[in-house]
Each structure stands twice: as structure tokens, then as C-alpha cells.
């Protein structure tokens, strides 16, 4: 009887911990990270869910400033050498939204892929 009760309590505790953890993961999921290194965006493709506003933290590891520029996303931000900058994008419908590093457009290219994510919600 005691072992059954202990099992139930442990299961409930696990369930509650899982729920708390999943909420934290979801909040963390709203932040995406982009690194500029050797005038290249890493990763070059970011997948985000549709119709959601997300935070994009861009870290420029190069020794020169770079400008994150996207006509599709209507965003434009200079990120100084060695600095991090944050921009918010969305909510946007599903689709592909291209961005470039305006000061090195040949190498610094990427896209935001907005689509239903398998593990979202």
C-alpha cells in the first residue's frame, strides 16, 4: 500500500517537473541564436514557427561590423565587431524569408524558414 502511494507521488512529481520543464523549454524556444564568423551566418537556416514573434540574438564574432539586412523580414541592424545584438521578428506566415550581411553579401547569406515545427507545442 505504502509503495503504491509512493509510486503515485513520484509519478505526480515527475509529471509536474516535466510540465515546468516544458514551459521553460518553450520560453527558451522563442529565442534563436545566429553567429557571424568569417563573414558567414551560422546556422544559415533558422526554422521558426508561423505567426509567432521570436527573439533573434546575433553575435558578430568578426573583427568588422556587419549589417543584418532583410527586405523580406523588414529588418536592418548593424552589429558591431565582437558584439551581440537582438532583434525581434514576426509574427509572419509560413514561408522563406531571406537575409544577408549587407557588408559581405556574397558570403553572409541565410534564410528564416517559417513552418510548423514537429515538436512545437
Amino acid at each position: 500500500m505504502w509503495s503504491n502511494l509512493l509510486n503515485k507521488i513520484l509519478t505526480q512529481l515527475l509529471l509536474v517537473s516535466f510540465l515546468i520543464l516544458s514551459t521553460e523549454i518553450e520560453a527558451a524556444d522563442n529565442t534563436y541564436y545566429l553567429v557571424i564568423e568569417n563573414h558567414v551566418f551560422k546556422p544559415s537556416v533558422i526554422e521558426i514557427p508561423p505567426n509567432k514573434k521570436v527573439k533573434l540574438v546575433i553575435h558578430n564574432k568578426d573583427k568588422l561590423p556587419e549589417e543584418f539586412d532583410s527586405f523580406d523580414l523588414n529588418r536592418e541592424k548593424v552589429i558591431f565587431a565582437g558584439k551581440k545584438s537582438t532583434i525581434y521578428i514576426g509574427p509572419l506566415p509560413a514561408g522563406e524569408y531571406y537575409f544577408i550581411g549587407e557588408y559581405h553579401p556574397v558570403s553572409a547569406q541565410g534564410k528564416v524558414l517559417i513552418k510548423e515545427l514537429k515538436n512545437a507545442d
Binding site: 505567426n51 561590423p65 527586405f71 523580406d72 523588414n74 548593424v78
Partner: protein, 261 residues
């Protein structure tokens, strides 16, 4: 690099040339003496140099929203000055005041629009091998802007000769509405304001990144995928400007006892 310089220059400088053309054609033509233009050019250049020196620390103010907030403040300031000049012009007020206000408005607008381009120049002029390409790109870009400006000026002057000259204010107000509506994207970029999802997309007709898209963006603040809030602000400002001008025009004519146009 050559193409990129031209593209960047058109994006940043074309709105300045469009503004200069409006001012020269009918808003404050008296402001375009050689001496005045030289003074505005020198002052703007010095301001841009100053901004480039302090832009990095400014970008870190207000948790990284410093640059956007500075741009928003300058755009609003510039908009208010041009609105005031338009109303003073309708009132046929002192030209010297209009010229001084236009100088400040122009300098502020030039600083907002060209500081990113000067950062780009600053980056590329460190690499000596790129200097020639950047120079040619700048010359080409300025050439395109000046050519467009000349054609646009000619069109505005021709329009001014017709009986519909009062309607000349319509493209000017569209330009001002586009200018002020850009603040929403800047505020949304740093999460001070939330924009809803775009209402439609006319990307298949005119892409924002295309030459026509950039031209329309410089002329009337065109956006291929506008959010509801953008359209609301744009419409309110445009209709507000039309209404304000109509009322001012009406009172001025009544005071002077002139027939309404």
C-alpha cells in the same frame, strides 16, 4: 562590391534626393542657394562623422535599442519640421524661417538615412584593394540618384504649371506618411511595439528589394507586406495632413479674401 555599393547607396540616399526634389520644386525653393546647400552639406557631413564615432555605444543603450530609438526620435523630429514648413508655406509666412527649419530637417534626415552607409564606407575603406570599386559604386549611385531627381523635379514643375497644382501636396504627403510610418518597423525590431502579421503580400508584383520596390519605398514608403498597424498609421497621417492643409488653406484664403482654388 561595386553592385553592393550602388544598391546600398540607392537604399540610403534615394530618399534624401526625393526629399531634396520636393523641397526644391515647391516646398522651399528659396533654400536652394549655393551658399545654403554648401552649409547644409558641411553640417550634415560633420553630424554624420560625429554619429559614426558614437554609434557603437549608442547601440548598447536601452538594452540594445539605443540606435533604433535615436533613429525614431530623429525621424519624428524631421517629420514635425517638414509639417511645420508646409503649414508656414501655406500661410505664406517668412521665407527665412522656412529655410532655417528646412536646413535642420534636411540635416536630421540626412543623418538618419546615411549613417549606415558611412559605416559601410568606413568598413570598406580599410581594405585598400576595394577603394576603387567603392569609389566607382558611389559615383554610379549618386549619378542614378541625380538623374532620377532631375526627372522627378521636371515632372513636379510641369505639374505645378497645370490647374491641378494644389494636388501637388498629395505626393508630398504620401512621402511624409511613408517617412513617419517607418518608425513602426524600427520599434517592432526592438520589441517596443508589436506589429501583427502582414495583411497581404504584393511581393509577386513588386518586390521590396527590386529597383521599383526601392524607388516606391523612397517615394511613398511602399511595403510589399504591410502590417495592419502600418496601414492604420499611414492612413491616419496622410488623411490628417490633407485635412490640416485644407483647413489651413481655407482660413488663409478667407483671411486674405481670395477665391478658393
Amino acid at each position: 562590391m561595386l553592385i553592393n555599393t550602388v544598391v546600398l547607396l540607392l537604399r540610403d540616399l534615394l530618399p534624401v534626393f526625393v526629399l531634396l526634389t520636393f523641397l526644391r520644386a515647391f516646398i522651399v525653393p528659396d533654400a536652394f542657394s549655393y551658399k545654403n546647400i554648401r552649409n547644409v552639406a558641411i553640417t550634415s557631413f560633420l553630424f554624420v562623422l560625429l554619429i559614426i564615432q558614437i554609434v557603437e555605444p549608442i547601440s548598447e543603450w536601452f538594452e540594445g535599442a539605443g540606435l533604433e530609438l535615436m533613429q525614431v526620435s530623429l525621424i519624428i523630429m524631421s517629420f514635425m519640421l517638414f509639417l511645420l514648413i508646409t503649414l508656414l508655406r501655406i500661410h505664406r509666412q517668412n521665407t527665412n524661417i522656412c529655410i532655417r527649419l528646412a536646413n535642420i530637417g534636411l540635416e536630421v534626415f540626412i543623418v538618419v538615412k546615411t549613417s549606415n552607409f558611412f559605416i559601410f564606407l568606413h568598413v570598406y575603406l580599410q581594405d585598400k584593394s576595394q577603394v576603387f570599386n567603392v569609389f566607382i559604386g558611389v559615383m554610379l549611385g549618386i549619378g542614378i540618384c541625380m538623374s532620377f531627381s532631375a526627372i522627378f523635379y521636371y515632372l513636379l514643375k510641369e505639374w505645378q504649371e497645370t490647374s491641378l497644382k494644389t494636388l501637388l501636396y498629395i505626393p508630398w504627403f504620401l512621402f511624409l506618411s511613408g517617412m513617419i510610418s517607418q518608425v513602426l518597423a524600427l520599434l517592432a525590431q526592438v520589441d517596443i511595439f508589436s506589429l501583427s502579421a502582414p495583411l497581404w503580400s504584393s511581393e509577386h508584383l513588386i518586390e521590396n528589394s527590386s529597383e521599383y520596390g526601392q524607388l516606391l519605398s523612397a517615394l511613398i514608403g511602399y511595403q510589399s507586406a504591410p502590417a495592419r498597424e502600418f496601414l492604420i498609421l499611414y492612413s491616419i497621417v496622410f488623411l490628417g495632413l490633407v485635412l490640416l492643409t485644407a483647413i489651413t488653406h481655407f482660413f488663409v484664403k478667407n483671411r486674405q479674401g481670395l477665391p478658393h482654388e
